[in-house]
Symmetry: C2
Subunit: 337 residues, 2 copies
């Protein structure tokens, strides 16, 4: 079951393999191949269904026209929509995307970087987990095009694109306060990443700005080791033990989904018993009444910007440009508090 190769076509056409290569790569002109020969080769290639072996092309040229995308978990709605948007953007530039999930596992994340590197991908889009600094730093040293998405390391000089966590979270808190809420809970993750920390900091700052005391017992950090049903139970316990809470701000989509499960389990009503805002939106939030108010990340803009930064590195003229961007979030009011 041998595939047809450039040699076969050359033999059929009675020319050298190099001639075939030039013609099929549209370099007939610069190779000064006669139109007749070029046409003959093109026809033979088409008739015989010749498809260049991209592995050989990659080995020879050092370029694969593949980008590597490393995200936390493809089954998480936010990452799935990011992946989709990135795939669409990449296609515009003629690139394909190889996805992998880290599952928030540092070892796995670094292995994936390695794997992609060995496969000679032309660029990397990474939503890093804590501890991936080393792997990413190696990539930067090797002058590989890299863009970080959704998260970044202040210590690493890598381009990044992320949402405006501070402004987005502040807007959410301002909304709660304007609605008269004073006992506002924060449910976040203890994962050592920048964005939950920024969202927490916005929570604290906004309360202080309005002279509302920050009550430490209103803040709950779900251990990132908690499994699904454990998270739901832990959040339920937290809500139960803080009966004064009249509103909750969830710092991630994932936490909010578990939180909704908890609220459901406790038999509380949104927003009558408790108001809820989630940082990120989810498609289904809009279908129910009362729907969940959300801070929505602009996935499309994140993907476009990340791809621009990556392409600048890959095909750029070497000109240095500022490659960090913070994208504004959108505040979607759907409750009726």
């Amino acid at each position: 079951m041998k595939e047809i190769s450039i040699k076969d076509i050359a033999k059929l056409a009675g020319v050298a393999p190099s001639t075939v290569s030039l013609v099929l790569n549209d370099k007939a002109k610069q190779g000064r191949i006669s139109d007749a020969v070029a046409e003959k080769i093109r026809i033979l290639a088409r008739e015989n269904g010749y498809k260049p072996n991209q592995v050989a092309v990659s080995l020879r040229t050092g370029s694969s026209k593949i980008l590597g995308l490393i995200i936390e978990d493809i089954s998480n709605a936010f990452f799935a929509s990011i992946a989709k948007a990135i795939e669409d953007e990449a296609e515009k530039y003629g690139y394909r995307v190889l996805y992998c999930s880290t599952e928030n596992n540092t070892v796995r994340g670094n292995e994936l970087v390695n794997l992609l590197f060995q496969r000679q991908v032309d660029g990397y889009l990474i939503s890093p987990t804590a501890g991936m600094e080393n792997g990413i730093s190696d990539l930067l040293k090797a002058k590989q095009p890299v863009v970080l998405i959704d998260r970044y390391f202040p210590t690493l000089p890598a381009p990044y694109v992320l949402s405006d966590n501070i402004a987005g979270a502040s807007e959410a808190l301002e909304y709660f306060i304007a609605k008269g809420h004073r006992n506002i809970g924060l449910i976040t993750s203890d994962f050592p990443l920048m964005h939950p920390q920024q969202r927490e900091s916005a929570y604290t700052q906004t309360l202080i700005k309005h002279n509302i005391p920050v009550n430490p017992s209103f803040i709950y950090k779900v251990p990132y080791t908690a499994l699904h049903h454990e998270a739901t139970q832990l959040i339920a316990d937290f809500i139960k033990s803080n009966a004064e809470l009249d509103a909750i701000f969830f710092t991630t989509n994932y936490l909010c989904i578990h939180g909704l499960g908890s609220i459901n389990q406790l038999g509380m009503k949104i927003p009558d018993d408790i108001a809820v805002i989630c940082f990120d939106d989810h498609d289904l939030f809009k279908l129910y009444k009362p729907a969940i108010t959300a801070v929505k990340q602009n996935v499309q803009e994140i993907a476009e910007t990340a791809m621009q930064f990556l392409m600048h590195q890959i095909t750029g003229n070497g000109e240095k440009i500022e490659m960090t961007k913070v994208i504004a979030t959108e505040f979607i009011i759907r409750d009726s508090v």
Copy 2:
């Protein structure tokens, strides 16, 4: 920025590249390399951070240790969870997964097959869209390992794994009928695929079995060309113009989500005004009251079985086994009709 190669290690160790290759591929014994030399090479490789160029390995060996996964749309929850499960299963066998989405576009689907083929993936997991028969048929002719997931073509002798659409849909209809519903609507897609057709057929057969007349005006096929908001509107129009409906069976998750939007828009209550069953489940269905009753596909078992079939083809002893499997669905009752 040249990467360190096998030649460099050979030079450092004072041996031939072939010796290094044998040692690093754990063939030192069969190459009868002395332990001293082998150990020296291993140490040098580690110290210098030597990483074999997988592109070269692939070209030479014809194997890439990568599987191609072609699905309809990664941002669809069902496919995202399939992708995740497949990725986890593949890892157990030492394989990585390259995902792509067809977006239900035949041309794109066939291009993707081509692309993966040129990249020499070792096997294909495909959830085909209509019209991909040709591309898949070519793959089979080229003796490539292939498993179809979720959908299949009766005309194509390819292994497949799918859910028991007939039994799952029949169970849903039986449930409606047992609850006393007689005006049961079917909302499906006009996409020319096997599974919506099977689910529709189960709908009709179950009604007939119970001597309930099949009312054609209770069946609506959403055009697959309809955009998101259009689908919601079309479904709302359908429900409005069939005021007698007391229950609806949605044949896909995607349609159900739009349907929920429609029901919401019409101000109807589930299950008081209308009962709903969706063929597939969605994580969020369980969080709301009243939650949606669903036919749930066993994603884990689908992924495991598909991977077994694929591995049998890749590493199998050539022994022919039956490689078609229909996986039972689970019926999840969450409403209170």
